[in-house]
């Protein structure tokens, strides 16, 4: 009310101003709620009772069951990247550098980010929908009545599993991508797998692999916590469940890019200077 009288004489401007204000307020509310949810995760994660068996089950569901999708996309990614790079490399007479170039691109950036985005699509949406559906059908309340802390059982286990499984998946997807790249090279040339890997290893340094691996833990955490947050506070009804799953993917994907940007800046600051 105060804002409407403050913002000028034209009614259209008032409406626009209030609408912007509402959007900004909703965004800030969302960020605040997510921050509180994350703080609660860190409080609960160290307190007993520890849900080891559910955590192990979630590692299986989140990690192992994502392997086929991640592996397939990684293979295609490596193959296509090599085939797309080759004409330019041939033009400059440096096609021998394809293994080095592809390996650096995959290990540093493409592997972690693409895998994390696929992971967000599969796991973020699945966690959001599962917890949302449990909220709507009162299963989370039933869990609480059954002497279980649902936050610990559902949120802590899934977030931890996502945090730990994504780096494992990225390492595997990087390896599969490079294998795809070797096949891409062999479509036009003949290069042994041993020689291909020797070139890859020779051109990769610790500062290519370690920061990339560290940022994967943050990507995994973002996917897990956002999926759980969206599902845990899902609004009533099936529409709410769908919306939770959808917004979990969108929000997690945006976080992955923001974290990637931060990771590049921090890596440059810490590693190169």
């Amino acid at each position: 009310m105060t804002i409407a009288s403050f913002s000028g004489s034209e009614p259209g401007n008032n409406v626009q101003f209030m609408s912007d204000y509402s959007i900004n307020k909703a965004l800030l509310d969302e960020i605040g709620d997510l921050a509180r949810f994350t703080a609660r995760f860190f409080r609960e994660v160290f307190r007993p009772r520890y849900e080891f068996s559910e955590f192990a089950h979630q590692c299986f569901v989140i990690g192992y069951k994502s392997l086929a999708l991640v592996g397939l996309t990684a293979f295609i990614l490596g193959l296509v990247l090599t085939m797309q790079l080759r004409p330019s490399m041939v033009r400059y007479g440096v096609e021998a550098q394809i293994p080095a170039m592809v390996s650096i691109a995959i290990v540093r950036e493409i592997g972690p980010v693409i895998t994390a985005l696929i992971f967000a699509g599969k796991i973020g949406s699945s966690i959001g929908a599962e917890l949302g559906s449990m909220r709507v059908t009162e299963q989370i309340d039933a869990m609480e009545v059954s002497g279980t802390n649902p936050f610990k059982y559902l949120v802590v286990t899934r977030t931890l599993a996502a945090t730990l499984m994504l780096p494992v998946l990225v390492v595997l997807s990087d390896a599969i991508s490079l294998y795809g790249s070797w096949i891409g090279v062999n479509i036009y040339d003949v290069l042994s797998l041993k020689l291909f890997w020797a070139q890859v290893i020779e051109n990769l340094a610790y500062y290519d692999a370690i920061p990339a691996l560290i940022k994967c833990f943050f990507f995994g955490f973002a996917v897990g916590i956002v999926g759980c947050y969206k599902g845990y506070y899902s609004k009533k009804g099936t529409e709410g469940v769908g919306r939770s799953a959808n917004s979990a993917v969108v929000m997690a994907s945006v976080f992955i890019f923001i974290l990637d940007l931060l990771a590049v800046q921090i890596t440059e600051l810490v590693w190169y200077y």
Binding site: E138, Q139, A142
Partner: protein, 245 residues
């Protein structure tokens, strides 16, 4: 069994969601072994009432004493001990979709009685499934069961901890008349077999008539009237009569 001993005493319970006052100084007493029905129209705050009793919602004011302990003041561990003695049958059944019937029944057991041997767990699972007449469903998934069967399994999950009190949240809602009747029979059988006290919230008059020893009418957030079914039915109060006409 001392039927004059109160197991739940609610005094001046208040709960509002924003400006919407749902419970306004509501009072209720449930005695040991009693079947008490809280009758009220949809949206009158019945579900809010039992969610406050079990500690799923925090009241704005008033006391909720369950076995002499004031629920809103309890710590998480103390509340868990109370919850082990109070069963809750959810309106939507709230069976865990990803678990079999056996796992659904074992879940509260494993949580409250952590050191129970597997043999004893199996016996309890079999016993409660026998009680609800569905021993053959033990390895089925909830999605494979009909609405009435799911309600029975949810009741079996409530019974497995041998609660002293069972809270029923609209147990016949969404069921066909025949299945609804079976559930009403089951509620009565369970009370006799397990000697539980029951608090049933509903707007189903058949359930009120057949299962309610005493009835409380929840109108405008208050305990508007109480008595037996016959007393309520013959009441001249227009708000009470509105339910029975």
């Amino acid at each position: 069994m001392d039927t004059s001993e109160p197991v739940i005493i609610i005094k001046d319970l208040c709960k509002a969601f924003g400006s919407n006052v749902v419970l306004d100084h509501f009072d209720l007493t449930l005695y040991r072994g009693e079947n008490l029905v809280v009758l009220g129209k949809s949206g009158s705050g019945k579900s809010v009432l039992i969610k406050c009793i079990i500690g799923l919602l925090r009241p704005d004011g008033g006391r909720i004493e369950v076995f002499g302990q004031n629920v809103p003041e309890l710590r998480y561990e103390e509340l868990d001990q109370i919850r082990a003695k109070v069963g809750f049958l959810f309106q939507s059944n709230a069976l865990y979709d990803s678990m079999t019937v056996r796992e659904n029944l074992e879940f509260p057991l494993r949580r409250h009685w952590m050191h129970t041997e597997q043999k004893q767990v199996d016996e309890l699972v079999h016993m409660v499934l026998e009680s609800v007449g569905l021993p053959h469903t033990v390895d089925m998934m909830p999605a494979e069961l009909s609405g009435g069967m799911r309600k029975r399994i949810a009741l079996a999950r409530t019974l497995i901890l041998k609660p002293a009190i069972i809270l029923y949240d609209e147990p016949t809602t969404g069921l066909d008349p025949i299945t609804g009747m079976e559930i009403i029979e089951l509620i009565r059988e369970v009370q006799q077999q397990y000697q539980t006290s029951s608090l049933v919230i509903t707007h189903d008059l058949k359930l009120v008539r057949l299962a309610g020893e005493r009835i409380i009418m929840l109108i405008d957030g208050k305990c508007y009237a109480q008595g037996t079914y016959d007393e309520m039915k013959t009441s001249t109060d227009p708000k009470v009569r509105a339910f029975f006409e």
